[in-house]
Amino acid sequence: MQFLYSGLTSGSIYGLVALGFNIIYNTTGLINFAQGEFVMLGGMLIYSLFCVFEVPFYTALPLTLLGCFIIGVLYERVFINLARYKTEINLVTLTIAASIIMRDVAMHIWGRDSLRVDDYIPVVNVQMPGGVISSQSILIIAVSMLVAWGLNMFLKKSKYGKAMRACFDDQTAAETCGINVRSVRIMSFAVSSAMAGIAGVIISPITFVTYDDGIMIGLKGFAAAILGGLGNFWAAVAGGLLLGIFESFSASVIPSGYKDAMAFFVILLILFLKPDGLFGRKKATRV
């Protein structure tokens, strides 16, 4: 059971990052390889505001998310919008370039050391059937589920959320309804950045933050998105949770160093057997 709890914790984070991948993929058909960097950025911003400038946590949190949101907008404006030749491979490589830049800028600002974000909630271990779970883990799981639920509500109920879904379905048709697809694209970058920022904030007290954290968490989130199948929000969350649980169980049977290898191994296996992800629908190919 203990493995289940730790798996759920890391899995929630993967799911959150996978959601971010999904939002951008749905509006632009693009994999944003800088997604992990936004998680790192969230951790770094909360560290600066909360631990260095000692801003009260409840002020620091919205400021951090706002920061991620704004950087997300800038990111879209600078890298994606300005690119003259928007082929898929060009844009994907561009996001990789952007991630390199973000990582290094972060290194210059915050240095190479792991930074510890102080606990902002009381740390207690809760006795659960078959093991203990820390209050931080509970927070992570709860917040992730809340964000996933909130995103779902936003997309289902609000006018702008519906407009985003319309763009996922058919961008040209959305334009003929008077929806400005460009703003929706900017919005999707901003929202997914803010979501990554939340992930960064909630994990930072447990894992610390380092400037190059983004690579691994980005890859795992990407893996979770692929595992679930791109283009499906709940599948992304499920993919994340599955990946997390699987990782933590595999750590019990094989040396922990191979944990990450196992995760990728399973993803490869799933891609071989079901090329559109576990819950993905097969896209009709036109000849």
Partner: protein
């Protein structure tokens, strides 16, 4: 069949000859050797991505595989270094062939993910199987390549060796590029369905190309081993795969010259900007971003267009 681009070949030979005979600074020669190694890797990736449309973000793993196979075989089992190179290549070929058959059925982002996953797995194994690879602290005590009575221990003789390998490689690439074989790959990249209705089986061709380029990269990895005499997983991480991707893209996808230009340019960044060592990666990323955003076809493609316009 088209004529070979002799200007480029001769130019490269002259540059290499000049460095080999005139430059005495060992450090510069070392940099030149490394650039050649990068250039071979970047060109191999370019053939995958620029010609065939296979996006591979796991090339560093094949490079590392070759390096470790050569290191282990020559150091622990006393096999002649020259002999370990084809063995390393064969090992990578077999692995890539096996992994490639299912992977290459995927497209776009899924293919990227699969190659990336494969790269990560190999990287983790390099780190964790410390009883063979020495783990994160690296593999030490690798010998020299000895050809007859020449011991390629010093920078200069190794550079000559690498230059010869590189020129042969470049010649083969040119032959490939001008022989209509590359057209077949571009057909596959352009439309697999059209290819199939003309009797070409894209899957088979793609696996062959993927495995061949893996073998080439591994061969190159073996050379790298005997040049540095010390290898550790850091050299074969995700970061190096991305650097290769950047070299191929900046240089120009779909041009043989592209991989070489990209490797030289991006390989030199750390040297030229050594005064700003701290900012090396920012310059690197910025250069990559600017080229992608404003120069389609990379530097080679842009040069070609300029030449055409003036002609």
């Amino acid at each position: 069949m088209k004529r070979l681009n002799f200007t480029f070949l001769v130019l490269m030979a002259c540059v290499l000859g000049y460095i080999g005979t005139q430059v005495t600074n060992e450090y510069y020669i070392g940099v030149a050797t490394l650039l050649l190694i990068h250039a071979v890797n970047a060109t191999a990736l370019n053939i995958l991505l620029g010609y065939t449309g296979i996006i591979s973000i796991g090339q560093a793993a094949f490079f590392g595989l070759g390096a470790y196979v050569a290191a282990v075989l020559s150091t622990n089992y006393g096999i002649n270094p020259l002999l370990t190179m084809p063995i390393a290549a064969a090992a990578a070929f077999v692995l890539a062939y096996m992994v490639g058959s299912p992977i290459l059925k995927l497209h776009g982002n899924y293919l990227a993910m699969a190659t990336l996953g494969m790269g990560m797995i190999l990287y983790i194994f390099m780190n964790e199987m410390d009883f063979i690879t020495g783990g994160p602290s690296g593999f030490v005590g690798i010998g020299d390549i000895i050809i007859g009575k020449f011991d390629l221990a010093d920078e200069k003789s190794f550079f000559v060796f690498m230059s010869i390998i590189f020129m042969v490689f470049l010649l083969v690439c040119e032959l490939f590029d001008k022989s209509f074989l590359h057209n077949k790959l571009k057909f596959i990249k352009n439309s697999e369905s059209a290819c199939r209705s003309y009797g070409i089986t894209p899957a088979r061709t793609k696996v062959m190309v993927f495995a061949s380029m893996a073998a080439l990269t591994a061969f190159n990895g073996a050379i790298f081993t005997f040049y540095t005499h010390f290898i550790s997983p850091v050299s074969f991480s995700f970061k190096y795969s991305v650097e290769l991707l950047a070299m191929a893209t900046v240089g120009g996808l779909g041009y043989i010259t592209g991989g070489v230009i990209g490797a030289v340019l991006l390989g030199l960044v750390p040297e030229i900007f050594s005064a700003f060592e701290e900012y090396e990666m920012i310059i690197y990323g910025g250069l990559l971003a600017v080229v992608i955003m404003f120069l389609p076809g990379g530097i080679a493609g842009t040069l070609k267009r300029l030449v055409k316009r003036n002609a």
